[in-house]
């Protein structure tokens, strides 16, 4: 009933989120700047921006991959050019 492509789309989004989480814990969380209120603030901003960039990358990659295989899956019946 449901074509394999839809499962792969969800699986791919899940895998990307796991990778994103791994990078956040092991790379971004380990960013440290010397003590001091202003440095801690900078550290928090850098970390928040890094996570935001990762999320944007997640969305971009998912969009590109979705466009690629939905074009094949739907064979022009539904245009995915807006992706």
């Amino acid at each position: 009933m449901v074509r394999l492509g839809f499962f792969l789309n969800i699986l791919f989004a899940w895998l990307l989120l796991i990778v994103l989480s791994y990078l956040t814990i092991n790379v971004i969380a380990s960013i440290t700047i010397p003590d001091g209120y202003i440095f801690k603030l900078i550290e928090a901003i850098v970390k928040a921006l890094s996570v935001a960039i990762l999320l944007a990358l997640w969305l971009y990659t998912w969009r590109r991959i979705s466009k690629l295989y939905f074009e094949k899956l739907l064979k022009g019946r539904v245009s995915v050019s807006s992706f």
């Binding site: 009933m1 449901v2 074509r3 839809f6 499962f7 789309n9 969800i10 699986l11 989004a13 899940w14 989120l17 796991i18 989480s21 791994y22 956040t24 814990i25 092991n26 969380a29 928090a44 928040a48 969305l59 998912w62 969009r63 979705s66 939905f70 899956l73 739907l74 019946r77 539904v78 245009s79 995915v80 050019s81 807006s82 992706f83």
Partner: protein
């Protein structure tokens, strides 16, 4: 808080009270709304019948009654319960206004965000704190004490609006909520966060009861009142149980459907102002994808692109995909440290 006997009673009775209250209230609210002309058109049926709208009010009643039951049986959960029901009711009010007056595409997410500030404000006087600002994700925990106060209302707004966008055919929203809340209930059990189970059980109860009336052929529609408040309830119950990441994965089908729609439309556009519908209905009642390139890309449109499908088949396709994302959510549990 482990498996205390009060918690087990609270879980069972919250499920039962929520189910019964919604079961009793739904047909009465449907009848009341029908008499007052609060109806919506069922586009996917030949003849396009008018069905009572805003039936989601019954789920708000169910969730309110079950919250009272939780408070009586488990008084130490006062702040959790108060914040849970006030958040759901606040988002529900946004839904009521949207159903009756119609809100703009940008106003609705903004208002649900503001409603999501309720637990942030309640966390100030709460003792013990409702949340500590830790986010449990695979491979570790992130301490975001200040940022969490911003992420929480965003999460509630995203979850409620995502649910709102994923109710394309009869029963999909209620059915998907059953699958997601069942997954969260199992997750609370496996992760030793059983203290969130009464809230998750109350969502499960009202979704189960509402599904009886909303499944194909629907006798009542949830309206934005139902979809927004159930989405908020799921999001906030996962916050109480620190199951945010699990809930995110469980809701991937709904999130991806929302992303497909938003990307294809180029941003937030109110449903009523979209001129091209993503699907059309054949004379035999089957649904087929619109070939118009201006029509939004939704999961329903992609499901029906290969061949026309009955409304039931579309609903089951959503349930299968939601079940798949829920299985992935359960697989994720061992990756998240306790």
């Amino acid at each position: 808080m482990g498996f205390e006997i009060g918690l087990i009673y609270a879980t069972i009775l919250s499920l039962a009270s929520s189910f019964l209250a919604t079961l009793i209230a739904t047909p009465r609210i449907a009848e009341f709304n029908k008499r007052r002309g609060i109806v919506g058109v069922d586009y996917h049926k030949p003849g396009r019948p008018e069905i009572p709208e805003m039936g989601g009010l019954s789920m708000l009643i169910g969730l309110s009654i079950s919250s009272m039951v939780i408070l009586v049986l488990y008084p130490s959960s006062f702040w959790y319960t108060l914040s849970f029901i006030l958040t759901v009711l606040s988002v529900g009010c946004v839904g009521v206004v949207d159903d009756l007056l119609g809100l703009g595409a940008r106003v609705k997410p903004l208002l649900t965000f503001i409603a999501g500030l309720v637990p942030v404000l309640l966390n100030i006087p709460a003792y013990p704190k409702i949340y500590e600002g830790y986010l449990s994700v695979p491979f570790g925990r992130i301490r975001i004490t200040i940022l969490y106060n911003l992420l929480l209302p965003i999460g509630i707004a995203v979850s409620s609006n995502t649910m709102n966008m994923c109710d394309p055919v009869n029963g999909v929203m209620a059915g998907s909520s059953i699958i997601i809340s069942l997954t969260l209930l199992l997750a609370s059990l496996f992760t030793d966060r059983f203290y969130a189970s009464p809230y998750i059980a109350s969502i499960l109860g009202c979704a189960l009861a509402f599904y009886i009336y909303n499944r194909y052929p629907a006798r009542v529609f949830p309206g934005d009142t139902g979809t927004l408040s159930l989405g908020a309830a799921i999001a906030y119950a996962s916050v109480i149980g620190r199951l945010e990441f699990i809930a995110l994965i469980a809701m991937l089908t709904q999130i991806l459907n929302a992303l497909f729609t938003l990307i294809s439309l180029g941003g937030l556009i109110e449903r009523r102002s979209i001129s091209e519908r993503p699907v059309r209905v054949l004379d035999d009642g089957r649904i087929v994808a619109s070939v118009n390139p201006q029509a939004p890309i939704t999961l329903t449109r992609m499901f029906t692109a290969s061949r026309p499908m009955s409304e039931r088949e579309v609903a089951y396709s959503f349930f299968i995909l939601t079940s798949f994302s829920c299985i992935l959510a359960l697989i994720t549990i061992p990756l998240i440290p306790r």
